[in-house]
Each structure stands twice: as C-alpha cells, then as structure tokens.
C-alpha cells in the first residue's frame, strides 16, 4: 500500500470516527446519565440541521452563525420536550423508547408538513486537501477535529467541574444528591439540554454535507445506538473507544471490500462486542483498571 493510500485510510477512519462520535455522543449522555433511550435522537439532529439551513437560506445568516443558531434552537427544543414529556419517563427505560418513537414519528411528518420534502442545500465549505492523485474534503477532516474537541470538552465538563461532579452524583444516587443540595430536577434538565445541544451540533455540522430532508436524522440512528451500547456506561470513554473501534472496522472494511462489507462488518462487530463485553468497553476498562491497581 503506497503512502497515499495509507493517508486515504487514515482520512476515511477520521471521517467515520467523526460521524460515529458526533452521532452518538448526545444520545450517550442522555442514555448514560438519565436512563432514557431516545429513539427520537435522530430527530434532534434533524432540528439542528433544519434550524441551520433555514436560518442560512431564509434569514441569510453566515454559516457559522447559522450553525450556532441550529445548536441553540435544538437546545431550546430539548428543554421544552424535557419539561413536557421526557421527565415523565425517567426510570422507565423501555417506555421511553416507545414514547420517543412516537415523538420521532410526529417530528418527521411535522417537519414534512411544515417545510416540504427537502430543503435547499448548503454547500460544503473549505474545499479539499490534495495528495498525489487523491483529495479529501477539508471540512470533513475539520469535523473529525471537532469530534475530538467535543469529547475533550465533555471530559473537562464532567470530570473537572462542579457541575460535572454534581451530574455524576445525581446519576449515582438521585435522592442523596438532592439532600446534598443538588437541584436534581434542574440537573436532569441541564443534562438533557446538553445532550440536545450536541445532537443539534451534529445536525448543524452535517447539514452542509448531506441533503437535508425530513428523514435526515434517521441516517444517524443506527450508528448512534450501536456506539452507545458498545461503549457502555461511561459516556466519554465509552463513546470515544467504541467510536474508535467501530470507525476502524468500518473504514478498514470499506476501504478493502466496499461499502456493503464496511456497513455489515460494523454491525457484526457490534454484536460480537456486546457478547464479549456485556458491560461495554467501559466495563472492560474497569476490570483492567482494577487489575492494574492490584499490581501496584
């Protein structure tokens, strides 16, 4: 394999990694921290994309600003939905799946009724990097950088700030957290808002790379769920490790044997991973950590 092709492989890996991580991270936060399986996660992404495209085309905002608007609107949307519906579903994991499925149906068709079957496209910015006979979209490499940035940002947020500490305490023991002065109700709301904002970010970032229509969000759902489950309980470590593993399998297999094998390999890897690591990659890491502690 010549160096250019290695670079191809690397770029394809980064590309897959970005998609998987950005698709999954919002879902992971909501699932990992609140025990809600949000089957409407794709439609949160949809809101981000629509808000971005509409404010870009109809209001004429610059793309970056439009993206920020997309994130903001998705956040607000998430907050409203949390207040109205989702908070009745805490500790009802399976019910949350059915209810959010309902939300998803309503949203897809609602968006179609309001804005039709498709929105005008937004061109992808930045152009491409060329190397030998090949080139790769600069924007998509930037997305990989953003994905890593998001993971680092979340790590800092949850591991290094008081907010993060309170959030983790709330997950572990809601009642005790409340008796320690944490407004858990608001904590859940904030967590849901962060998850929504990240979904909105994903929608905003990918709106310029894909055609935006009511089914836009559906494209992310499978990858998001698989990643969350393979990742396990810890949001940041789990998502990044699972994202890395699945992106490696997907991009490697796609590069070698084409898109179908790539897709199938990723799904099969997920099945095998769940079987071998019933608690996800995080569970496995936990065991390693204990083992290391022992040897010290």
């Amino acid at each position: 394999m010549d160096p250019y092709q290695l670079l191809n492989l690397l770029f394809q890996f980064l590309d897959s990694f970005a998609v998987i991580v950005l698709a999954a991270v919002g879902l992971a936060i909501i699932f990992g921290m609140m025990g809600i399986i949000n089957l409407a996660h794709g439609e949160f992404i949809l809101v981000g994309a629509y808000a971005t495209v509409l404010s870009y085309h109809r209001i004429g905002l610059p793309l970056v600003v439009a993206m920020l608007v997309g994130v903001a609107i998705t956040t607000v949307y998430g907050v409203v939905l949390e207040r109205l519906i989702v908070r009745h579903l805490y500790d009802r994991l399976l019910d949350s799946m059915v209810a959010t499925w309902g939300i998803s149906l309503i949203m897809i068709q609602g968006v179609r009724i309001l804005w039709g079957n498709s929105l005008d496209g937004v061109g992808t910015p930045f152009g491409s990097v060329s190397y030998g006979p090949y080139s790769y979209s600069t924007y998509r490499l930037v997305l990989a950088g953003i994905a890593v940035g998001v993971l680092i940002g979340l790590y800092v947020l949850f591991a290094r700030t008081d907010f993060g500490m309170r959030a983790r305490a709330t997950i572990q023991d809601k009642e005790t957290a409340r008796s320690m002065g944490v407004d858990t109700d608001r904590m859940y709301l904030s967590t849901f808002a962060i998850g929504s904002a990240l979904a909105g970010l994903t929608g905003a970032l990918y709106a310029p790379t894909r055609s935006v229509g009511p089914e836009f969000g559906q494209e992310y759902v499978v990858e998001a769920f698989v990643t969350v489950v393979v990742g396990g309980a810890s949001v940041i470590v789990g998502t990044s490790m699972a994202g890395g593993l699945l992106a490696l399998v997907k991009s490697g297999a796609t590069n070698q044997w084409g898109q179908f094998i790539g897709l199938a390999a990723m799904l099969v890897t997920a099945i095998v991973a769940i079987r071998l690591m019933p608690d996800g990659i995080t569970g496995l890491l936990e065991d390693w950590r204990r083992a290391r502690r022992e040897s010290e």
Binding site: I106, V229, A264, I271
Partner: protein, 378 residues
C-alpha cells in the same frame, strides 16, 4: 340448583388450566365475553366479507405480538428484533416452497420455516443468555441482528443470490412462494380468502389459550419469577439461563409462525427485506406497550387495532396520519404507563361492581363475579 352447580364445576374445571394470577380475565364474565368475541370473529366472513383479508393479515401479526408479550411481559426479555424470526421464517418458507412447489412445498415450507426460526432463536438466545448479555443490551442486540439481516437481504439482488429456484431478490424482495393451499398428495387445505381466515383465527385462539395455560403452569411461574428476580430464582434451583433460552426460543417459533402466516396472506407469496427494518421492528414493541405487555389479550388486541387504525389513517390520505399515530403512542405511554389492558380491566371491574350492586340481594351472582384469585389457584 344442583345441576347448576354441577355445570359450574365443569366450567371451572375446563377453565382452570387457563387461569391464574399470571393472566387477567379469570371470571365467568370474561369467558362469556371471550366466547362471544370468538363467535363474532367466526361470523366475520359471512357478515362483513370486506374485512376478511385485512383481519387475516392483522391476526397474522398478532402472533408476533403474542411472541413479544410472552418473552417480554412474562420473562422480562425485551427483544427489539422479533421481526428477525418473522422474516427468517417468511424467507425460509418462500425458499423451500419455491423449490419444492405447490401444496407439498407449502407444507414443507411451514415445517422448515418454523424449524429455522426456532433454531435461529435458540442460537441467538444461547449466544446472548449464556454469554451474560442482559437487559437493554439484549434489546439493542436483537435490534442490531434484525438490522444486519435488513442490510444483508437488501443487497441480495444479483442472480448469484439464489437458493435453488428461489431468487432472494434483494431490496425488491422474493416472490412466488406457493401459498394458495397446503397439503400433500391428494389432501390439501385451501389457504386463500375465508379458508385462510379460519385457519389463522383457529390458530390464534389455540395459541392464545395455549399461552394462557403455559403462563399459568409451573413453567409460567418459573418465567415470571425469572422476570422478577433472576438471582433469587436461580437460588430456588431454577436454571434461569435455560428458562430464558427456552422462552426466547419459543418466542422465536411464534414469531416464525407469524411470518409463515403472513406469507400465506401475502399476494403472490411475496416478501422483502422491509420486514427486518427498524419500523417493522418497532411495531411489536409498540403493540405490547400500548396493549399492556403482561396481557396476552391486550397485546393481541392492540396489534390488530393499531394495524387497523394505522391502515385506515393511511387510507384516509391525510398528511397527519403519522402525527396521529405518534401522538397516540405518546398519550398512552404518558397516561397509561402499563398499557391499556390494566385500565380496561379496572373499567370492567368498575362496571361489574356497578351491575352487581344493582343485583344485590342475589348473592349467587355476586359470588360468581367476585375476584377469583383464590378460586383459581385451588
């Protein structure tokens, strides 16, 4: 008087295997209503021939609903991929049927389809339960299995994807399974129109009663105990992994039966990979959630009712059809968390209490309608 009580003893004896605290509807009133409903359903082809085809289809789906109710409601295993067994059975039926042909093909197809669906469920169940996969991970894993099948079957378009005479057909689907009649040699049962309707209805009633008997049996208690607390149940000497495997496997058989019956309904013996898709996969979960997952009858009714409603809304052509369905799901989950069945039961109790209050002075009838928990377990 004595003749009456003799009759009562007989009905009680007939009813007893189907009753117990694991099922709702353990009263004379329930069984009377049940018999009336069954009679009503048997009369549909005569009274309303226009509904036969749709009802046949929806009742075929009801087996899928029952399979999920059985494994989820009674054993706590939420499979989001019951359609995998439905679809595998459907495809197997088609492949065997097309290669063998005619009534014999259909017969062998049914046998093979149920066998393959059962085997597939057993293999997947063994893989999961003996590998320590639990709870929501079972849910996602089963969903991913369905999606893998969806992806895989979708690309089997080329002529190289043929098993004998049966072209898998990729995304466009496989056509031509012999589904007009089933039998062998000179004996064949017509499996079209009213004939199919009666076959499906009879099977559905038999399956429903069979499951009622099963969940109230020793094994049923073991299932429920496993659902409630797996560790505890193992400590009573139950092999809970095996119980889950057995339940999941039988659930696969039932889902497979659903797929086979669907193939008999399906015009031209047609099936395509949509049966493995995420929308199809969600439907059984929705039926069970709405109907009440611990109620066999509730889930069955929800399957038929929701499919009917869904179809009518689509037929209306309204752009709000999917919005209405989504809103309905939300409403039920938020307002009736355990599904409609427990509320329906409570409503019936309430009405009955009202009636028996009016009939007060007639202790016989009151007695008869009393909650029958104790009577049942005797």
């Amino acid at each position: 008087m004595s003749a009456d009580s003799a009759l009562e003893t007989i009905t009680a004896r007939v009813r007893s295997p189907f009753e117990g605290p694991n099922t709702t509807g353990n009263s004379n009133a329930f069984w009377t209503a049940f018999v009336l409903a069954v009679v009503g359903l048997f009369l549909v082809p005569a009274v309303s021939p226009g509904h036969v085809s749709d009802l046949t289809l929806f009742m075929s789906y009801a087996f899928l609903a029952l399979s999920l109710c059985f494994i989820w409601g009674y054993c706590g295993i939420l499979s989001f991929g019951q359609v995998a067994f439905f679809g595998v059975a459907g495809y197997t039926f088609g492949i065997v049927g097309i290669n063998v042909g005619a009534e014999t093909g259909a017969l062998l197809g049914v046998v093979a389809a149920l066998f393959v669906a059962t085997l597939f469920a057993a293999a997947l169940g063994y893989f999961m339960f003996y590998g320590g996969v639990r709870d929501v991970y079972v849910t996602i894993m089963t969903l991913v299995v369905a999606l893998v099948l969806n992806t895989f079957m979708g690309q089997t378009a080329g002529s190289e994807w043929a098993i004998g005479d049966a072209r898998l057909g990729g995304f466009n689907g496989m056509v031509g399974a012999p589904n007009r009649a089933i039998g062998t040699g000179s004996v064949a049962i017509d499996m079209t129109g009213d004939g199919l309707y009666y076959v499906v209805l009879a099977l559905l009633i038999a399956t429903y009663l069979g499951l009622r008997a099963l969940v109230n049996s020793r094994f049923g208690y073991a299932m429920v105990a496993t659902r409630e607390d797996e560790d505890r149940t193992a400590m009573f000497g139950y092999n809970t992994k095996f119980i889950k495997l057995a339940v999941f496997t039988f659930g696969g058989t039932l889902a497979g039966l659903s797929g086979v019956l669907f193939m008999f309904w399906s015009p031209g013996g047609y099936i395509n990979p949509d049966v493995f898709g995420i929308t199809a996969a969600a439907m059984p979960v929705i039926w069970a959630s709405i109907g009440g997952r611990t109620s066999l009858l509730g889930t069955t009714t929800a399957a038929v009712a929701l499919q009917y409603l869904d179809q009518r809304l689509a037929a209306s052509g309204s752009e709000y059809a999917l919005v209405v369905i989504g809103a309905l799901l939300l409403f039920v989950i938020l307002v009736m968390p355990a599904g409609v069945a427990p509320y329906a039961e409570r409503a019936v109790d309430w009405i009955r209490d009202g009636v028996s209050a009016k009939l007060r002075g007639d202790p016989e009838s009151e007695n008869e309608n009393a909650p029958s928990n104790s009577e049942v377990t005797k």
